[in-house]
Amino acid sequence: MDALAIKEQFPILHQNINGHPLVYLDNAASTQKPRAVLDALMRYYEWDNANVHRGVHTLGSRATDAFEGAREKVARFLNAASAREIIFTRGTSSALNMVAAGYARAFLREGDEIVLTPAEHHSNLIPWQQAAKATGAVLKYMPLQPNGTLSLADVEQTVTERTKIVAVAHVSNVLGTVHPVAEIAKIAHRKGAILVVDGAQSTPHMKVDVRALDADFYAFSGHKMCGPTGIGVLYGKAKLLEKMEPVEFGGEMIDFVELYDATWKELPWKFEAGTPNIAGAVGLGAAIDFLEQIGLDAIEAHEKRLTRYALDRLSDVGGLAIYGPREGRSGLVTFNLGDVHAHDIATVLDTEGIAIRAGHHCCQPLMRWLKVTATARASFYLYNTEEDIDRLAEALVKAKEFFG
């Protein structure tokens, strides 16, 4: 995989920031878009745009084909059993909220358990807090190992016969840990629980096979995988989606409507009220094509190489505290530099054209678990190179010197 050749295809990466060539290392927050995705978006709006599903005219057919074609692409991308199991949402957060509202609130009773880890992103935490408050269910937390990984023994011990939902990130957006989702699914299922997976940080960076994992629900965002903002996917097993009531109501999701009652459309449209983000879905489809052409395995291997390189270069900088496991991590490195606050690190790097993220990363409980107030994070993707990491390391040395 030729990262430089790939980088050429991303127009936004070829600019200067504060007098230096941009080094974009904030991919866990959002990713950049290749020309192919930008062209697909423009082409849709220039040639194929109309409302979907109901038009009797040609443009309506073209828009519908583009939209449903994207759904089929997502189904194949995830190896779902059928496109009926692919719901388009605004993103991972709205997908997880949909499960919390449509499944957890509907079916959980007092004393039922929802099992999480303290490393969850707020979007895979707050919806469950709210569902628990509404139903009388309780939240339980699987303990993390000191390096942030999960031991299956702890999973086995925390998940009980009362557990109805286990919700976990496939990859942690702070620690880079890759959790053993397939094994967690087995444990959850054996005890009568379902597994909900936050796939925001995994789907863009590795091959995901929802049937091999046997996940009950799997959520991800388009904008974190070279797709447009405002589009995401909730995958759910058909038998579960059939049981669930929709959470949003209105046009497109109905079959028969009278004054005081209505019936719902079948899957997946039951869960897609109103005109969808058609262009977003088209852009996501184009992003999937783009990534699959390069190969998710190749992308994963590239990031692993970069991460190993980064860990070496950063240990040369000296004085860095790096969080998460040394081995087997996904392509991001979260760190602190002595007493220098993450905001200050990020500002120094910004003056050098380098974009990283500083703060809580939407994981306040995890920050507390790490016993830190804020952290800095550099996250990689297919267009990052070793030169980017060299620039990062040099700028961190500068930050160290500046703040003495």
Binding site: A342, H343, T347, T373, A374, F403
Partner: protein, 149 residues
Amino acid sequence: MSGLEDLYRRVIMDHYKSPRNRGTLEDGSVTVSLNNPTCGDRIHLQLLIEDGIVKDARWGGEGCSISMSSASMMSEAVKGKTTQEALELAERFSSLMKGEPVTFDEYEDLEALSGVNKFPARIKCATLAWNALRKGVEHGRGEHVGIEE
């Protein structure tokens, strides 16, 4: 002045390394806890307001050099001010953040933060303590004041 030197002036780093008025107040004070919307800083401010005057200010919290030094400066600047003067001070600080040429004769150290306006991403760090001040004064006066960012 080069970019970073403009932001991180010596006065600021001094307040960061040796913050004034960190601590707590006895009961009878107004307490405000605020998180920076640009996450990563938090402040816990206590004001002793008597007869419409900010008699004392103490604060605690964790955060970046900008948020903490701004809190340190704010806590010095408001002592002895009436609640009205304190709010006006906060207004003038907002103007400073917008890049307006504000001076602070009563507490010159504040002028060192003028460089923040060239680093828009850090403005919320600088205003955190001042938003806490506004909320504290509003509680002290028993009114509601909208906070403009």
